[in-house]
Symmetry: C2
Subunit: 127 residues, 2 copies
């Protein structure tokens, strides 16, 4: 169990009268803070690894979508699909306490990369 | 098993002499294409849901990091940590066949949001 310390404790300067004990206390606080920081960063790193692997799979799928559309003469953009995706992601974001505006921005960021890749595929087919 | 069709088949116009059979063939091709598209989009939607949930967890963790740093007077930015993160993500990206430059851009996109949130927390503490 992680015991939450009082805010600002580690950052406070030691009053002269209890200087030695306070230095000790600050050292303990800093040890705790760095340990907790290491734990949190470990979890962030695990999540980042999962994100990278999921993104790699997502781009494989969108590449297959791009090829399928090119093979069957389907239009590259599909506005109704994109509208649906945004609406769905915003709901999912709300449910998981993620800012829906950020979720939408995130999708736009990914879609921009998908378009960049599709253009690269189209260029290599044309040349 | 998914049978890969010849490129461009569905998009070709029908030669007059075999018009009826060809219309039928095009219809089959389009049915196949839309079915496959639906499958791929279903997988993309599942991945997007996972991405949103992971991002929600990541922001919870970075919020705890922000609070911990503020509580213990640790500096908000840590250049060596960020350099390590970029190097690690680039390796993970290469291993999973994701463009390492994109992985780096993705991390920068997330970190920008983290900074935006930390600033918002700091503002709310100051006010």
């Amino acid at each position: 169990m992680i015991v939450r310390r009082a805010p600002g404790r580690g950052a406070q300067s030691c009053p002269g009268i209890v200087r030695l004990g306070c230095v000790e206390q600050n050292r303990d606080d800093n040890t705790y803070a760095f340990q907790r920081l290491r734990e949190l960063r470990g979890s962030i790193d695990n999540i980042d690894a999962s994100l990278v692997h999921l993104l790699a799979e997502r781009f494989k799928l969108t590449e297959r979508v791009g090829e399928l559309k090119a093979d069957h003469g389907l239009p590259p953009a599909d506005e109704s699909r994109e509208t649906e995706q945004v609406a769905r992601l915003r709901v999912l974001a709300e449910d998981s306490h993620l800012d829906p505006a950020f979720a939408e921005k995130f999708l736009a960021f990914i879609v921009a990369e998908v378009i960049r890749r599709h253009e690269r595929i189209a260029e290599s087919r044309d040349s």
